[in-house]
Amino acid sequence: MVFHTQTLERGATQLTLQGQLTVDKAAALHHRLIELVQQNETITLDLSLVEKIDLACLQLLFATRRSSRNGNKTFFLAGADNPAVSHALRMNGLDLAMN
């Protein structure tokens, strides 16, 4: 798994996730996401380069969305139409929940 953080403008950051997002990487991803939500008003998660994602990491996407909403922040999800991601969402019955 590779993180690539890019500051778009003041207070807006895009985090690009790349490679295999599996339960063994969940703790690291969790840590990075907390930082991201704490430090930014607008958060974009780019999933277009994800090769595999399992339920543990999918849950973190839902958690991020929830935290952003709780903190009145803006949360965007980019690249969720990546087949690896949409397949994982569908296989876990969460495809409509992400919309």
Binding site: A27, H30, L55, A63, R90, M91, A97
Partner: protein, 691 residues
């Protein structure tokens, strides 16, 4: 040029039609089984869908009509009868013609279609009238009447520790979708915000709607690994409903999203009483997916198991491998001349890899023989009815694999043998009973592997071959003279002689001038052999032996003068020396004594009129064909040779004695000898000399 999607549909449609035919025959054999009915239905449904998408409207609409008849069969309203199968088989033929007509942009007689559909609908109406139960009975039975499929509500609440056990719920759902069709609804509402979440714990719950032919236990079995790590409940739903009503995943989801914590029984009754009966068709409906053979979550998991490749590409691949084998042989020969250990090791490695690659590629071309056998089943069925004979067909070894080309070219000879067996072999019931046999005749076709060959046998329990009739006819037709005593086996083999026929009357089925010699030549063209054994009143058995592949053979490379030849290694028994002294001892007669057996030999030098210096010690390669052993005298046996067969064209095709050519390691061409042909030629010459 055909556009790629049309070509793709054509291939798919042909496969579906073959599947339809096979399923219909299976259904006829066992009308009580549900599985072939589903297969028929699926094939028709897919044909309808893909046809409509690709613009094959005529074929698609015909498939739709037939499918609607089979809906009645599937719901149990229409019984599987002989008539239904016959009509549906005719519909299959019509679908094939319709496909062809649409591909070639020609017109299909609309009357054919109307007549057939009329017959089918009449059959369906008669059946429906007969079976229509009184109304009150229908109301009573509705609740108990179980369709072939059951539906279940599965509620899966894993404990937080699920991931620590190494369990991925998606894999459980995939297993579940292997036994049926599932709608999976995951509940994410319990997932805490980032600050509170333990990233290594499971916070998701699921409700699933499963439609399956299996029972409750099969569903529980899927979850057996997580039994102790979850709360699981499986509730059977009123099973008759999903067959008549259709539930869409969106409806199921929306119901659950409003009622996440709804108690089980409440949800079950909501599903049974409100959702299932009320919601009818939907694009995403379960039933739609079942009918399309696309389980909700299964589709993706199945991708990648097989790949559709154009057969020309495989042929190209085989040609390329052929070139590679040739170059490799050349490399081997070049390296052998230099004493370089490293180069030799590398060459050996390349040789090993080339052989492995060759075997793999040839293996890709192997297809099971069952498609051919299905056509046979259909033919036997239709023909025995036409001739009013009762025949059981037993088929064994349908999984036996053979090279694609061999399978394609085997079809006609097999059908010819079958036609003969039905027309001439199997007697009418009365005649059979009078002969003390069962009224129904039996034809047994089997295929099996035997070493590097495939053996196919076709056996009937009919009247058998009559040696006297065969001999008399053969003499009348001038195929044998009365001076030679022939063994029973030799007489039986006479049926393969060109022009031979015992049929006293020409029927529409066989005896149309195509004799058994055509069958024999077709089989020999595949480098195979055919033999017949028969006992009067007990039946006839044809045994066909075929090589697994036609593209590359193991050969024996020999040298005569300045020419080189390849003999198929499968025909070679052994090699012995032939000294001039031995030739002198036999006073010039072309015979060699080998372990007390006199074996005639042919000098290839004379046979092919080869030039170049004669060798002092020649070699006799003992070959055998059809039980006849014969020696072929060569100057030198060079060794075994991976032979890539190249066909020879033009004038060379007219010359007997060889079946093809190959390119040798040094770039020269060598002819591949036709051992059976040479033996037959030799016998004919000897016969002429005696006469």
């Amino acid at each position: 040029m055909m556009s790629s999607y049309v070509e793709l549909f054509r291939e798919e449609a042909l496969e579906l039609l073959a599947e339809l035919e096979e399923a219909l025959i299976a259904l006829e054999e066992n009308p009580s089984l549900g599985e072939p009915i589903d297969r028929v239905f699926r094939a028709l449904h897919t044909l309808k869908g893909s046809g409509a998408m690709t613009g094959f409207e005529q074929t698609s609409s015909l498939a739709h009509e037939v499918e609607s008849i089979f809906e009645l069969v599937r719901s149990g309203d229409l019984d599987v009868t002989d008539e239904l199968i016959s009509l549906t088989l005719s519909a299959h033929d019509l679908l094939k013609s319709s496909l062809h007509a649409e591909l070639t942009k020609t017109a299909l007689d609309p009357q054919l279609r109307d007549v057939l559909l009329d017959q089918l609908y009449t059959l369906a109406q008669v059946a429906l009238k007969k079976q229509a139960p009184p109304p009150q009975e229908e109301t009573n039975s509705r609740g108990n009447e179980n369709g072939p499929l059951n539906s279940f509500l599965v509620r899966f609440r894993p404990h937080a520790s699920l991931f620590l056990r190494g369990i991925d719920p998606a894999l459980l759902f995939r297993s579940l979708s292997e036994i049926g069709t599932c709608l999976i609804v995951g509940h994410h509402h319990a997932i805490p915000p980032l600050e509170e979440i333990d990233p290594e714990e499971c916070h998701t719950n699921w409700d699933l709607l499963v439609v399956t032919g299996e029972d409750c236990n099969a569903i529980r079995d899927v979850f057996i690994m997580v039994e102790d790590d979850c709360d699981l409940s499986v509730h059977p739903l009123n099973s008759s409903l999903p067959l008549h009503c259709e539930v869409s995943s969106a409806d199921f989801r929306s119901l659950l999203s409003k009622n996440v914590n709804i108690p089980d029984q409440e949800l079950v009754s909501l599903l049974e009483n409100n959702l299932l009966p009320e919601i009818m068709t939907g694009e995403d409906s379960l039933i739609q997916r079942i009918a399309e053979g696309l389980p909700a979550a299964k589709g993706e998991a199945e991708t990648g198991k097989s790949l559709r490749v154009k057969s020309e590409r495989l042929d190209n691949l085989v040609n390329l491998i052929g070139e590679l084998v040739t170059i490799q042989a050349r490399l081997g020969q070049t390296v052998a001349g230099r004493k370089d250990a490293t180069l030799s090791t590398l060459t050996e490695e390349i040789e090993r890899l080339t052989w492995e690659l060759r075997d793999e590629v040839l293996f890709i071309r192997m297809l099971p023989i069952d498609a051919t056998f299905t056509r046979i089943k259909r033919m036997v069925r239709d023909l025995s009815r036409e001739l009013g004979k009762e025949i059981d067909l037993l088929v064994e070894g349908t999984e036996t694999e053979l090279d694609k080309t061999v399978i394609e070219r085997l079809q006609d000879p097999l059908l010819h043998l079958l036609r003969n067996a039905i027309d001439h072999g199997i007697e009418r019931s009365a005649e059979r009973v009078a002969a003390g046999k069962s009224a129904r005749g039996t034809i047994r076709i089997s295929a099996s592997h035997s070493g590097p060959k495939v053996v196919i046998s076709i056996a009937d329990d009919g009247r058998g071959l009559d040696p006297d009739t065969i001999l008399r006819r053969a003499m009348e037709q001038g195929l044998v003279d009365g001076h030679h005593h022939l063994s029973e086996r030799e007489i039986q083999q006479l049926i393969f002689a060109p022009g031979f026929s015992t049929a006293s009357q020409i029927t529409s089925v066989s005896g149309r001038g195509v004799g058994m010699d055509v069958v024999r030549r077709a089989i020999e063209g595949l480098r195979g052999t055919i033999e017949v054994t028969s006992a009067p009143n007990r039946g006839t058995t044809f045994t066909i032996k075929l090589p697994l592949t036609l593209a590359i053979i193991d050969g024996l490379l020999v040298n005569v003068g300045s020419d080189q030849f390849v003999m198929p290694l499968s025909a070679v028994e052994e090699c012995v020396e032939l000294t001039r002294a031995e030739v002198a001892r036999n006073h010039g007669r072309h015979l060699i004594m080998l372990r007390n057996e006199l074996i005639p030999y042919i000098r290839l030098r004379d046979f092919f009129d080869c030039r170049g210096a004669e060798s002092k010690i020649e070699q006799v390669v003992i070959t055998s064909h059809d039980g006849t052993r014969i020696g072929l005298v060569v100057d030198k046996v060079i060794g075994s040779h991976q032979t890539v067969i190249k066909s020879v064209g033009g004038t060379l095709q007219e010359i007997s004695g060889f079946t093809g050519a190959t390119i040798l390691g040094d770039g020269r061409a060598a002819l591949i000898l036709d051992i059976p042909g040479i033996i037959a030629d030799h016998a004919a010459q000897a016969h002429a000399a005696v006469a």
